[in-house]
């Protein structure tokens, strides 16, 4: 029975190794270039432009799209996880290099260069922040400029989480304009529009090139005190690219100065409102403006589903197998050395209280972006149910059974393998089942740090306000959770002796 368990675990590990995605295999290979983008449409489009431009030059490119916040991308760039990503000058000055007193562009370039980063010339549009509200309400209240907001302290503000925190965001805007509003919430940028629609929010932050301005019939308020700095779009790239592949840099820089503000609004609208893919929009643009023949191909829903399933299973199988292999021995230790065990359970319990999103992001400084940090976080998350159930399964063995086992004269290792673990098997298996179901759900968050999986369509769906796309991730994730549950029910007769199951039924 135990040897069966061992064999199965071994099987899982081997299977998991076989289905390692190629990108994690390829790892640090020299000629591979990683393009990153943030999790909003414009950034993804710019990332796709770089991707198609470079792939057209025969370069081995990977686009890690829709990664979390600015800090994650910039750190990944500095550490070499990424080679290129689109950024805005205002973001670099106000957020990445906040606290450095940088007066002009030369100083900025010097500072970046000292970190091993180069900056392209502006791509052609200034996507600065603007403050916006529904045209209808603005006209009724006669609000045209940001300073007009002073007269309406009851208005409800909903700002993107990033805007709430940044140097040039809400706190300094409030000071500069002396705004009196109290009801100010941090929300996801994409959810903000819906808040405006249903009236739960009156005022939001927008980007100047947002596709939704026309669609939702919004008014951008004039920044009459010149609060917002410029947000020229640029590419940041690692300076070692220049030596690694000068041709590559040359072709990337062909994007300089060719994307106007109105062109960008149109591109954004094509994706967000007309439902085209970023790849298609980006490659058409390259064909139009640079005469670049791109090999764009439409990915079918089925292809995507297979890809997502594969990535999701990869995260779950690896993290869960590792958790099983580590957590069962930890559960045994907890049982054998209760004092140490209580400490251990406490510690793992604390990990469990860290919100899963935060835990995943905490892993980035240690493991970079992609599948690795997601697997590490999922692994930590899966420990507690298994350790706890192993421990309680062993502890709940009736005294007369542990006593008979001892009296038979079997050494404690044999007792553990032949008697105690099998007696605890039901509890252990149910711990693993709990861990697996939690794991499948939590793995959807991995998409935020570039691990892919069912979270990817969910993330894209939220960004594009596309319920269908959200369901493309949510439904398979739910089905997988059910499937996992069913699988463990099927496994029970194999791992839990019939003699124990008899007792449960009567």
């Amino acid at each position: 029975m135990i040897s069966k368990t061992k064999r199965l675990l071994l099987g899982i590990v081997i299977a998991a190794n076989f289905c390692l995605p190629q990108e994690s295999m390829a790892g640090d290979s020299k000629d591979e270039v990683n393009v990153g983008s943030k999790k909003f449409t414009e950034s993804v489009i710019l990332g796709e432009m770089a991707y198609y431009l470079l792939i057209n030059n025969g370069i081995n490119v990977i686009h890690k799209a829709e990664l979390g916040g600015t800090q994650i991308l910039f750190k990944s760039l500095v550490q070499g996880e990424l080679d290129i990503y689109p950024e805005y000058t205002g973001t670099i000055l106000q957020e990445i290099l906040a606290g450095e007193s940088i007066k002009n562009e030369d100083e900025l370039k010097d500072k970046l260069a000292s970190m091993g980063i180069l900056m392209s010339e502006p791509l052609g549009f200034n996507n600065s922040y603007v403050i916006g509200m529904k045209k209808e309400i603005a006209e009724k209240l006669n609000i045209n400029k940001v300073s007009d907001l002073r007269n309406y302290p009851e208005l409800k503000f909903g700002f993107s989480n990033e805007f709430m925190d940044r140097e040039d965001g809400w706190p300094s805007l409030q000071r500069k304009y002396n705004l009196p509003q109290r009801d100010v919430r941090g929300i996801d940028h994409d959810i903000g529009y819906r808040g405006l629609e249903n009236g739960s929010i009156d005022v939001i932050d927008l980007y100047a090139t947002d596709a939704e301005i026309d669609y939702y019939n919004l008014k951008s308020l004039e920044d009459d005190l010149n609060h917002f700095p410029e947000y020229q779009a640029v590419f940041l790239y690692r300076s070692d690219l220049v030596t690694r592949n000068p041709e590559l840099v040359k072709s990337l820089l062909r994007l300089e100065g060719i994307i106007s503000e109105s062109a960008m609004i149109k591109l954004n609208a094509e994706v967000k409102l007309a439902g085209k893919s970023e790849g298609e929009v980006a490659s058409r643009f390259l064909e139009r403006e640079l005469n670049v023949e791109t090999e764009f191909y439409q990915v079918t829903i089925i292809d995507k589903l297979i890809q997502n399933t594969y990535e999701h299973l990869f995260l779950v199988v690896i993290s869960l197998s590792a958790a099983i292999i580590i957590a069962i021995p930890l559960g045994i230790v907890t049982y054998k050395i209760p004092r140490f065990g209580q400490l251990l359970l406490g510690l793992i319990g604390v990990i469990q209280t860290i919100p899963s999103l935060a835990l995943i992001v905490f892993m980035i400084p240690l493991l970079g972006i992609g599948a690795k940090p997601a697997i590490a976080a999922l692994f930590l998350y899966s420990l507690l149910p298994i350790v706890r159930n192993t421990y309680s399964g062993l502890k709940d063995i009736p005294l007369q059974l542990s006593e008979s086992a001892e009296a038979l004269g079997l050494p404690s290792k044999v007792r553990m393998m032949k008697i105690e673990l099998p007696l605890a098997s039901r509890s252990i298996l149910s711990g693993i089942k709990t861990a697996a179901v939690i794991n499948v759900g939590t793995a959807t968050l991995g998409a935020i740090i570039g691990a892919g999986g069912y979270g990817q369509p969910i993330l894209t769906g939220i960004r594009l306000d596309d319920t269908g796309l959200i369901l493309q991730g949510a439904i398979p994730a739910a089905l997988l959770a059910f499937g996992v549950q069913g699988l463990f029910e099927l496994l029970e007769p194999i791992f839990v002796s019939k003699g124990l199951r008899l007792g449960e039924n009567s």
């Binding site: 007369q400 059974l401 006593e403 086992a405 009296a407 007696l423």
Partner: protein, 242 residues
């Protein structure tokens, strides 16, 4: 065979066993009787080293029992725990051969031994593949007994081996057990709280109360010459029931 020398055991404030001396010879059957909670099971646990005495020593065949020789000694003792103690996840036959398998006996030897044991205990061979929960109470007791006898131990410790059985089966099993003891010629230390059963099995009876041995002797001696009122009451309470 077994010698307890002045052993005492305390659970927190409770003196479960105090200064007990016991000598069990080869082929002898000693029966421990006494009211519930008087320390009978504790004494048996001390004998097989599941708990260590606070004071006193335990000798097995003249050798002091220590943590080093404990495992080996245990395999020379068959122990049937109160309430059976069969492992529910293993079938009857798996329970019986567990230790023999660990000791790498070859399968013919195991098969033959189990055949002997089922004959000895009149256990239906067809029921060997059943799990404990699929057996009757009497059958479970027999399986416990076979497990204890598997390695042909030199001594048997039986803690209420006929505990929760109905009177008919109990009487049958009493006969069988006595037959087994006689034919095997083992040293037996048996616990019961039934004075008839004690009289039926015992060469010598130890009557305990509150962790102490009140009186030691044959059933006749206890009947004819009780050392105090308690002994008299303990015996007559059960006699007068019928």
């Amino acid at each position: 065979m077994l010698r307890l020398k002045n052993v005492s055991k305390k659970f927190e404030e409770l003196q479960a066993v105090s200064s007990v001396d016991l000598n069990l010879w080869e082929r002898e059957t000693i029966v421990l009787v006494g009211p519930s909670g008087c320390g009978k099971s504790t004494l048996i646990r001390l004998a097989i080293g599941i708990i260590a005495p606070d004071e006193g020593e335990v000798y097995f065949k003249g050798e002091l029992v220590t943590p080093e020789n404990l495992m080996e000694i245990r395999r020379k003792i068959g122990y049937v725990i109160q309430e059976g103690g069969l492992f529910p996840h293993l079938t009857a036959i798996q329970n019986i051969r567990l230790v023999a398998e660990y000791l790498n006996w070859d399968s013919d030897k195991i098969k033959n031994r189990i055949k002997e044991l089922t004959d000895l205990t009149h256990f239906p061979v067809g029921a060997l593949e059943r799990f404990p929960l699929e057996l009757s109470g009497g059958q479970r007791q027999r399986v416990s007994l076979m497990r204890a006898l598997m390695l042909d131990p030199e001594m048997l410790l039986l803690d209420e081996p006929l505990g929760a059985l109905d009177p008919m089966i109990r009487a049958d099993l009493q006969d069988e057990l006595k037959e087994i003891f006689r034919s095997l010629g083992k040293a037996v230390l048996l616990v019961t709280h039934d004075i008839h059963e004690a009289g039926f099995f015992a060469d010598e009876i130890l009557l305990m109360k509150d962790g102490k041995v009140l009186q030691q002797g044959s059933i006749r001696e206890l009947l004819d010459d009780p050392v105090d009122d308690f002994v008299k009451k303990f015996i007559s309470a059960q006699r007068n029931r019928v």
